[in-house]
Symmetry: C2
Subunit: 234 residues, 2 copies
């Protein structure tokens, strides 16, 4: 584990700590350990004892679950500023999934037994955490609804739109998903196969909606994609 100097201003800017005083923030940071995670490496693995909880400072993580028969799904993508891995606060003793760096990342970590301190010393933060989980629950329900009622193409459209919203970088000709993401990854986020995703993206490229590439995706016409996601024909 690489311990590095922690950028105080970076943490300060997170909305999570809006209502935290400088003094309290310093205390929190003092008890945290910063760690660099190279692309492809895990912050923690599914089934491990939940010894720490984390905050993503920089980079991008995929939270993955493997089923008993070896199939993989991506539960969610972690963006900078997100808390993650607080399984213990939700009465679990182990991590329900693995957190893998999709890009070179920097995380802050706290020992699990710091959670009550984290929360009690700072009630506003408890509310934030609660809202975060609530949001996540809603996202999960949205995904369930989409998987129940929509066909694959619309689901892929929704996922891509969500990704450019959360991790989009503006370019000359469109908006790029700002981390390496394979067809397989998109398939694991939508409950389909990489073949189907590849076909769909090829079709979209032919229509001028997107521009593909190896582990790359540039959305040229977000409005058109929205139309498609909402089921307004074609």
């Amino acid at each position: 584990m690489t311990v590095a100097a922690i950028d105080r201003t970076l943490v300060r800017s997170l909305s999570l700590f809006d209502k935290t005083s400088d003094a309290e923030l310093d205390k929190l940071i003092a008890s945290a350990v910063s760690r660099r995670v190279p692309q492809g490496e895990a912050v923690f693995e599914q089934g491990q004892a939940a010894s720490h909880f984390y905050l993503l400072l920089h980079g991008r993580l995929k939270v993955m679950q493997v089923t008993a028969d070896g199939q993989q799904i991506i539960v969610r993508v972690v963006h900078p500023g997100d808390l993650f891995g607080f399984a213990r606060a939700l009465q679990r003793v182990d991590y329900p999934g693995s957190a893998i760096a999709a890009a070179e990342s920097v995380v802050l970590s706290w020992a699990t037994d710091m959670w009550p301190v984290f929360v009690e010393q700072n009630p506003a933060l408890a509310v934030s955490a609660m809202q975060t989980i609530g949001q996540r629950l809603e996202e999960a329900h949205t995904r369930i609804r989409e998987m129940s009622t929509e066909e694959v193409e619309r689901r892929v459209a929704h996922v891509v739109l969500r990704l450019i919203k959360q991790a989009g970088r503006k370019e000359a000709t469109g908006v790029r998903i700002d981390f390496q993401i394979s067809r397989q990854d998109i398939a694991e986020m939508t409950g389909t196969t990489l073949h189907t995703v590849s076909r769909i993206l090829s079709a979209w490229e032919a229509k001028g909606l997107v521009e593909g590439g190896r582990q790359k995706l540039l959305v040229i016409n977000p409005a058109g994609l929205s139309q498609l996601a909402e089921g307004n024909y074609q």
Copy 2:
């Protein structure tokens, strides 16, 4: 709204209030309103302003969402002792779904602005609430995983097993799901159609796994159903 005398001992027995003192419990109950909900009626409807949060004392509720194009899904089933409808605590102003009584039910309700009181006067309860949401998040992820990786028959098997676990009543020949549930309901919980559910249940009945009926389901061989759910051939 029907206001009735509140059964103190009934509330006391809920694990949610394990760490709540009698005095605190009385205060909570004093500020609550009890309400009887006949079968088929809604406690609240999707899109309504989230004015109250609730506790189910008796009966059974289905939380449903309707999509923009009119398709329905069942988000979850609420069992006695469950908190529900606390959208406001999760930073929402409206209810994301409708709560419909699947059986004659009794709920306790509190005004939304009681939530901070509810939580601050009773930190143990806040932890409980957090864990409840965490559990729900996990359930949602389980459902997403199942919908991503399993075929319909196994998903239906998983849902039926979950229902007999949460709402099973032992009978001479098996375990009955203890509220009225239609094929359509099961379809809306698994992301399929009532036709497919009907075919699956007919096949199971032929194998002696279950016994169907109009809005009824009796599981005769839970172990066999588990095998099926885990994908161990058959």
